[in-house]
Symmetry: C2
Subunit: 408 residues, 2 copies
């Protein structure tokens, strides 16, 4: 029941030169499904990532950060679903390490050149033997055209694969950007999403790529919420193979802006796809907070609205019970908020002003907008010039069903 | 489907000397139900209150604060359900004022001696004419024994009345404490609950009562959450009529501690009753965070766990998917949390230690506790000596149904 989630044709997904993808069935949690994905990168690729701020960071997150910091030159990624390898202590770290070592042996690279990722249930031991036993099959299947399999391979409670691809002409070069993401619950990324992988054949200086990855996360994966739960495994990775011939070394490069925007657009699309396919979602909601004194308070208000169970159940019911939105604005935590200057729009309809309902607002206007599958909530605070936007979904019976039954 | 909510017999509810209660049907939102409650206090009573921190404070909240600050000597309270008179701007304030004026006229007191309270839908005009038309009937019905009617009279989505009563012997005096509360959704009080009223015939110095009311709110109504939504109308009031002959003028009074504890016990019972009757609740959950460096971080962690939709749906399903609790501890915001020192107990079962699952923990142990109707979650942070406790409930299909249908 994803909301307007576009799944491209296979022919629309462009392989990225210098990036190969392979998948396999490891039977981590369930049999007969591809739950293991491997990326192989050509020599010379640069890779950067941002990771969850959750203090119970999963073992693979800890190891990936360590390997990225080692400067070893990342040549492979390995991703399993079905088990998060989080809340697993020292044995979890050893399991992640063993995964890297086995893959490194198969590819003839060093273990530090492998980034591991896991997603699934927390607090259960990773069946690392089943995982490593399936690595040869994934490696054998490596080829540039396998992105669709990978998009399916990293799914958990996702109902749809999330994949995006585009070509951008930058001067004499045509650059390809292709990526995948997953995640449907436990979504309020704080530095990155559950899992997002973006690859380009443009070359990007390693230090620059680290900055760019963080900036892009902050305007895409760090602007979505499903249930406010920041996961233990959030990871967002950009890989730049450099095989397209174009090399961007600094922000002064004439192609920097166009490349940045194309990457950011792809990341935002992947992030929004997570919300469109969020557990139980029937509506895609954009919450835009304007006229804030600074970015932080804009985000605080936007998240208060986007995470309120009462606001989200009203959207589910298509019920313009919009006092709940004002209530969330009111408790967001701006101590000196002047409610008489706050305005609320639902779509283009002005709902509230001067601390109360706008005189021309009618229930019918609200009802009309609430019935749409995609709704924009705009809140102007009358305090400054900062705007922030957060993406969320409604809250349905289905969300409760999915999360009450997830492990069974 | 309230969880172990004790409804006393009528004979167990003791009238409070100097406090009369009357109710009436005003038809604010629905016909044929008592939706209007009036309290009349004897001359010389002291009254104190704490109110929501929501910036969209309801008109009656603004007026009650003003009247309490005026020092006029509060002699009456008036409470309506069916409409919150919040997000109603200047007309809302006028409606609340008109309510006070009408009641003051009927009782022969000044409008400043009346505290108004409203609860119900936000952003809709209060039908003040229907309210004031019913005031004479409520006044006519005033008598000390009407507490049960009042407990019913202030309900909204509550399925059960919330009422408590006790007698305490303090030296030669027997003091009575009786109170009511309401609230089932939009519950994360921040200063007080939706509505809580506690009366005693002890006398308490006005300035002391203000302090006591805040302190008691902080260990009762300010420690519960249903959905994390802090309402626009939260109000908690303590009335001390002084008719029992006992007068407590300062903290040095020999009876201060016993009286404080009895009032606090009554307030905690009323607050917990709100959680027991929370929208859709099937379980009553106590989240206790121990060994915190300070009270603030203990509360931050407790609320992160108590408000996580994923934790709450797991409780609903009786599924010991306890990694979700660790995950919430991890994202609560303690930047230097050492996860290897964190321990998690479910009831008496040690679930996690050393950053992972405790070696002796079994799924069966977790399952056994999860099936109980009342569950204690204990989290030790290994950082200090502060403990805080928060009360919450699970998250069910019924919560979504109630809040998707609330206005219809």
């Amino acid at each position: 029941m994803a909301v307007n989630l576009h799944i491209p044709q296979k022919s629309e997904i462009h392989p990225v030169a210098g990036v190969e993808v392979g998948t396999a069935e490891a039977g981590i949690r369930k049999a007969d499904r591809k739950d293991l994905t491997v990326f192989r990168l050509a020599e010379g690729a640069t890779v950067a990532g941002v990771f969850t701020t959750n203090r119970f960071r999963a073992a693979p997150v800890q190891l990936s950060e360590r390997h990225l910091a080692s400067g070893a030159g990342i040549r492979a990624l390995v991703i399993n679903t079905g088990n998060a390898n989080a809340g697993t202590g020292e044995p979890g770290l050893l399991a992640a390490q063993q995964t890297c070592e086995t893959l490194a042996g198969l590819l003839g690279i060093a273990p530090e050149q492998v980034l591991p990722f896991s997603t699934g249930v927390i607090l259960e031991p990773l069946p690392v033997d089943r995982l490593t036993a399936a690595l040869p099959a994934a490696v054998q299947g490596l080829q540039p055209g396998n992105w669709f399999d990978a998009a399916y391979g990293i799914m958990t409670t996702d109902t749809q694969p999330k994949i995006t691809s585009r070509k951008v002409v930058l001067g004499e070069h045509t650059v390809t950007i292709t990526g995948i993401s997953k995640g449907a619950g436990m979504i309020r990324p704080n530095m990155a999403t559950m899992l997002g992988f973006l690859a380009t054949d443009a070359g990007i200086d390693a230090a620059l790529l680290r900055e760019v990855t963080r900036e892009i996360a902050d305007c895409s994966f760090n602007r979505i919420t499903v249930d406010g739960d920041t996961s233990t495994n959030d990871s967002f990775i950009i890989m730049a193979s450099g095989q397209a011939g174009l090399k961007v070394a600094s922000r002064n490069d004439p192609h920097f802006t166009a490349l940045f925007e194309a990457l950011a657009e792809a990341a935002l699309e992947l992030a929004q796809k997570i919300v469109r396919d969020a557990e139980g979602a029937t509506k895609f909601i954009t919450v835009r907070v304007e006229e804030a004194a600074n970015a932080e308070e804009a985000l605080t208000v936007a998240y208060a609205v986007a995470q309120s169970p009462l606001v989200k159940t009203a959207f589910y019911a298509s019920d313009p019970n919009l006092g709940r939105i004002l209530c969330a604005v009111g408790y967001a935590g701006i101590a000196d908020l002047d409610v008489s200057r706050t305005r609320l729009w639902l779509g283009d309809t002005l709902v509230a002003s001067d601390g109360g309902r706008h005189p021309e607002y009618t229930e019918e206007d609200g009802q009309r907008v609430m019935k749409e599958a995609e709704i924009v909530v705009r809140i102007a605070l009358g305090r400054g010039a900062h705007t922030e936007t957060v993406y969320t979904c409604d809250f349905s019976h289905e969300y409760v069903s999915i999360n009450a039954d997830y492990r069974s």
